[in-house]
Amino acid sequence: MASTAQSMHDDRVARGRRSSGTSASAACIALLRRDLVLAWRRRGELFLPLLYAVIVAALFPFALGPDPELLARIAGGVLLVIVVLAMLPALESMFRVDLEDGTLEQWLLAPQPLALLALTRVIAHWLTTVLPLVVVMPLLGALLNLPVKVLPVLIVALLLATPLLVLLGSVLSALAAGARRSGILLALMLLPLAVPVVIFAAGAIAAAQAGMPFIAPLTWLAAALILAIVLAPLACAAALRIAVES
């Protein structure tokens, strides 16, 4: 009698079992697809940071005078700063919508590790908000008279620095998302942490421009990026748990 009760229980539980896989990679692809679709639906908004970057880059020749040598000297650093500033508004709302509509609660209860979902969100965010900026770099470089030979180094530096900043920004954005009134808080938290990244990236570009070896700062950036890929999602998950707690 008792054995049939147990097997009946097992049958009932088994009937609810998954049919399609919920492997970690399938889940990440589902999240990535969702974020990309959402970004595509708002594609008009995604132009705004690009426009902002172009306009600010164009302001510099007006402000500093058209002296081509001066512009060429500062171009690398200025472009880096512009990219960092252009990334800020999007970073601020990285998790806000999902916190408000309850999606984060579903993340919390999903079978996949929260850190993995956070990392996927970072990747989607970078693809949709930062990659366009990097693509526009040649145009911005032309506006600021950046020597063409330095352009590849600029791109590589951005490809290393921007994911690092998005990873850092994800942790801070998750922390600020739980606060009622955050305003400019994310910028205040992120910019100091962005300083070392900017220093190394700009250092590489300046070195390349002067014809000196530039590999060292780039390898530092790469090392920091690898460390961040491992650690930032964990910190981001911890911050998301705090945010959902309210």
């Binding site: 009760a5 309850g102 919390l108």
Partner: protein, 212 residues
Amino acid sequence: MDTFPAPAAPLLSAHRLAFSRNDEPVFGPLDFSLGSGETVLVEGDNGSGKTTLLRVLAGMLPPGAGEIRFNGQPASRDNRNGHVLWLGHRTGMNDSLSARENLGFLAGLYGTRSGMTAATSMERVGIGAWIDEPLRTLSAGQKKRVGLARLLLSPGEVWLLDEPYANLDRHGIDLVNALIAEHCAGGGAALVTSHGAVRFADTRARHIHLAA
């Protein structure tokens, strides 16, 4: 020598569970268990801690005291995640996406029950025609139904439903009761909160009453 297998451990059980916020007790100590096929109704006025109790059971808040067990084991990510489906005040769906896209995403995380698709689950809750409309064009009641469709779509033995009757008309209320009954008949369990205005269909359900 005949040995009888031990009876199946309850899907969810709580032992002396309590929670305080700012040192004000919110609920507890509570003792209850939820076995396969059972429903528990948590009743109480607004502010009595029903939602907090559900959030503690879901692992979103840590218990102040006591313990929670899933299938007899102390609650942890491994034995909770993937076995619990949560439907809260906020449905967990994005307004800019359609029901099909939202359901597809959650199914991508939680998996799909055999034989179910987004379309069949939407049909079951009565709004199949709206499956491709952006969620923002749906009424609050229809959005709630999409949330119910999600419960049908993904596997999960334990349903934690916070005010599932909110925003629903008479037919919607009957739908919720029917879905819960079907889920429990299939071996699942449900813990449901309500502020008592709705007559709960399952007369065998146990009641927990929380005082504000």
